[in-house]
């Protein structure tokens, strides 16, 4: 069954069609790549799915439920976690608190729980602290937990951004260029992490430019060009697709 189903999505900016009738599905517990040249509409698709943009036409379904035009925080709560191309952390907050941010609280994040420092809030906070440390161990940032997020290196920030949405416990991960600018070693860490997520039953849709990475990680590849889907299928078959070669290498 498809976790994510996108139907006939259209998004125009001042008459320019950034996304022009795109449709695709992402199967449960799969790793799927969204590729295409710069400006082909990949990030716009992410922004549409996660609710930061509203499409002019088309529908988006998550686990069979329509989520088109819901606000971003509602979509996140339903179970779609995303990272950002240009990394959005809370730079002047500690690494640990950045992760703590992702958790859903029962009552602990309510105003009156805070005002009266309820026992329940403290208990939830304690439980989540342990969970957060577990997540930081998982991504290999436990040594940095007290640092401010803004002081981390680029690679560590990418890992922290992933750690933060792990706390949200989403079912579907939208990763916008998770490997961009990473050191080879960190790249391998990220690769392992994404594979482990799949082992845990999660579904991943990611944007990536490096075709070698796409080939080694993705089970399905969706190729966009000028806001249109030009190919979809297994990595090998997409790689040999004539239209894809044209888009990437120019027409012969």
């Amino acid at each position: 069954m498809a976790v994510l189903q996108v139907q006939n999505l259209v998004k125009e900016f001042d008459g320019i069609k950034a996304v022009d009738g795109i449709a695709f599905g992402v199967e449960k517990n799969s790793i799927c790549a969204l590729v295409g040249p710069n400006g082909s509409g990949k990030t716009t698709v992410f922004n549409l799915i996660s609710g930061y943009l509203k499409p002019q036409r088309g529908k988006i379904f998550f686990n069979g439920k329509e989520i088109t035009s819901l606000s971003p925080h509602k979509i996140a709560k339903l179970g779609i976690g995303r990272t950002f191309q240009n990394i959005r952390l809370f730079p002047q907050i500690s690494v640990l608190d950045n992760v703590m941010f992702g958790f859903k609280y029962e009552r602990g994040d309510k105003f009156f729980s805070a005002l009266f420092q309820t026992r329940r809030m403290k208990q939830e906070e304690k439980d989540n602290l342990l969970k957060a440390e577990g997540i930081l161990k998982f991504v290999g940032l436990i040594d940095k937990k007290k640092e401010l997020a803004g002081n981390l290196s680029h690679g560590q920030r990418k890992l922290l951004e992933l750690a933060r949405i792990l706390a949200l416990e989403p079912e579907l991960f939208l990763l916008d260029e998770p490997f961009a600018g990473l050191f080879p070693e960190t790249k391998r860490t990220m690769l392992d992490l994404i594979r482990k997520l799949k082992e845990r039953g999660k579904t991943i849709l990611f944007i990536e430019h490096d075709m070698n990475l796409v080939m080694s990680l993705a089970e399905k590849v969706i190729v966009l060009n000028y806001g249109k889907k030009i190919a979809e299928g297994e990595p090998e078959e997409v790689r040999n697709n004539k239209e894809v070669l044209n888009a990437y290498l120019g027409k012969k």
Binding site: S50, Y52, S71, P72, H73, K74, A76, K77, G81, R82, F84, R88, L89, F90, P91, Q92, I93, D97, M100, F101, G102, F103, K104, Y105, G108, D109, K110, F111, S113, A114, L115, F116, Q117, M121, E124, E125, R164, I165, L168
Partner: protein, 289 residues
Amino acid sequence: MEYLIHILIITGIYIILTLSLNLIVGFTGLAALGHIAFACIAAYTSSLLALNLGISPWIGLLLGAILAAFLGMVIGLPSLRLKGDYLALATFGLGIIVYSIAKNWVSLTRGPMGLPGIPPFSLLGYEISSVWSYLILVLTFVLITYLAIRNITNSPFGRILKGIREDEIATLAMGKDVNKYKLIVFVVGAFFAGIAGSLYAHYIAFIDPSSFTVMESITVLLMVVFGGMGSLKGSIVGASILVVFPELLRFLGMPSSIAAPLRQMIYGLLLIILMVWRPQGLLGRFKFK
């Protein structure tokens, strides 16, 4: 001695204002320039209730703060659509509107003539009119405000506020309803500013619109920035220094026509020096982006 206590009382009232504005500006990162408007509404509410209807100042204090909180919600609603400089201008506008109403609705507020003879608080039949007893009253409210805002900010709720300050888009991506939190912050900040306004009115026993000019809002903002955005102790220090310091100028024996403008200039100079050498404020850690 009485003069010294008087300064402490005024300092306490400013601390309440500064702490409550810090919640909005320092912790949540919302640029608000009309904070004194909330104090103004509450001060007039409790004064008019006491003068015209003989309602106890205690009830007036509560009603005034609630009305201020309501105004906080009214200003909070459009502010959800405004960011940064635009929000600053909108709240600035609110400050001017409230001031103008206080000044021009003469049949209700007596306009520039002000409201004299506002009765003091009384407890168990005793009037809280001596400076000593009033100091205790004000300090009690300072403590309540401090504890409330400390608790609010020291919690998962408070963490979300800091997240809004740091990156609103990322806060949304974490499933947090940013608008709801902004609104709560405005309401709570306005509530405590309202308390400060009523405390002022029943202490001085006279209010007129000149106590609630936009310049006052800016002074309170200055205290927040001076002490440190997002630092509660900073707010206490910032408010104390900026209230006490100009008072010291009195002892230089200058005529008030020179002392008053000098006070403004020294404020300005202090702020410039601070922004250059310590942009996060005396005790703050958060820096402007």
